[in-house]
Amino acid sequence: MSDVVDFGVSLYGFTENWINNPEYQLEDMFRELQQLGIKKFEIVGSQVFSDYPLPKQEEIDQILSLCKQYDVEPFSYGGYIDVGRYSDHDMTDQEILNEVTYELLTAHRLGCPMMRGGAVPNHLLKPVAQMAEFYNVRIGFEVHAPSKPGDANIQETLAAIKETGSSHLGFVPDFGCFITKPNPLMVERYLSLGADKALIDFIVANRHTGFNEDTMSEKIKSMGGGDAELYAISELFGFLSFAESADLEGFKSLLPYSLYFHAKFYHIGEDCVETTIPYKELLTMIAESDFSGTIMTEYEGHCFYLNDASEQIERHLKMEKEILSSLAA
């Protein structure tokens, strides 16, 4: 098993409990990490803080004190750029730069060496790189479904990052980009909402035959589909999109500029095998590359409102370790 790769867990994986259970605290998450033998974690500011983008010192202090207690450490700060925060205008370039600075400051106060950055226009990457260097926090721009690494805009960002010449900018590829079919749990859910199996099969089979969300919706309506099928379409053409095939070539192009990875997953069975994402290929490429760093487990099963993060994350870590061990063998 590669000794230049280690594992972290994003606290985002505990979303279901965090949102639905007022008793569940950050301390409980840290306890879970400790039990999993995990030190590094990602923390999403807008999810955990009462003030954002700049949490009060009291909130920061509380987290740092808990980290000490549970022997865990903030590794990456999940930032956004809330360009739509103002009701009367999109953030200007200067406002975006300020916002990036606020996020870097929070990452710095938490002691995170890394930050997941939001959408920053390419023409601002030079000053953003400079700011990241001042703070010594490296910013990785997330590549997230329905985007994939080979997309023109991602490749343009790659070129712009290269142009800065800065070691402090890069990517955080989210493995959700490489999903090639809907998770069985998703299909089950559509059916439970009253969707017709044949129509869902049609949507899945024709996700990449030329339809877009609107034309597919029209088509399915003409075939007798209703709300449940339209809901499925909006997800499958949206944030739960899946690719025709995993863009591994694209991934290769991002590898030298990847700061860490969001090892995204929705569900893993008892056999500890993820069936919709080519984990083996992805981890092999990482192990064979020059990458040294952290693979951040990012569980998102809570989008099906499952409250099984601990079990799922444990399976995921086990799967990753098995794959990497088998490569080393």
Partner: protein
């Protein structure tokens, strides 16, 4: 989850049963309180509230009856758009104080329309993904009174 008005399934927490309470001033019932949480996975600035409307027992509540309480500050519905410096944390409740003279004890049909900009999901200039924190449920007015 339509990208146009994304609706997560944390619905049940939107309207807090515990905080659906009569409001009393000097022993007179003057209105009722509605505690509201976001149906989302993260918090947003109050300025991201795009639409906030309320109906009680099928009747629309006039906007000027509603006082929005956030971080111990009070605002009118019209002011919400300005409040980019007030954050609505995902674990923080805001309160709608409705000064309608009160509601009789018992069950009421509460329909909240609450739509927010998803501030990091920009599709085009001034076009954002939205998320839906609306709720419609029959609630029983709590016994415990909120006193001003």
């Amino acid at each position: 989850m339509p990208t146009k008005l994304m609706r997560l399934g944390f619905d049940d927490r939107i309207l807090s049963n515990k905080h659906f309470q009569p409001i009393a001033l000097n022993d007179n019932t003057v209105g009722f309180n509605l505690g509201v949480y976001l149906n989302y996975y993260r918090g947003v600035a109050i300025s991201c509230i795009d639409k906030l409307e309320l109906s009680v027992n099928g009747k629309s509540v006039p906007e000027h009856f509603i006082c929005v309480v956030i971080n111990e500050k009070k605002f009118t519905v019209a002011q919400l758009k300005d409040l980019y410096s007030e954050f609505w944390g995902i674990r923080n409740k805001i309160d709608l104080e409705v000064y309608n003279g009160g509601l009789p004890p018992g069950e009421h049909d509460i329909e909240l329309t609450l739509e927010l900009r998803n501030p990091y999901m920009r599709f085009a200039p001034r076009v954002y993904g939205m998320f839906d924190s609306s709720a419609h449920k029959t609630m029983t007015l709590a016994q415990e009174v909120k006193t001003l």
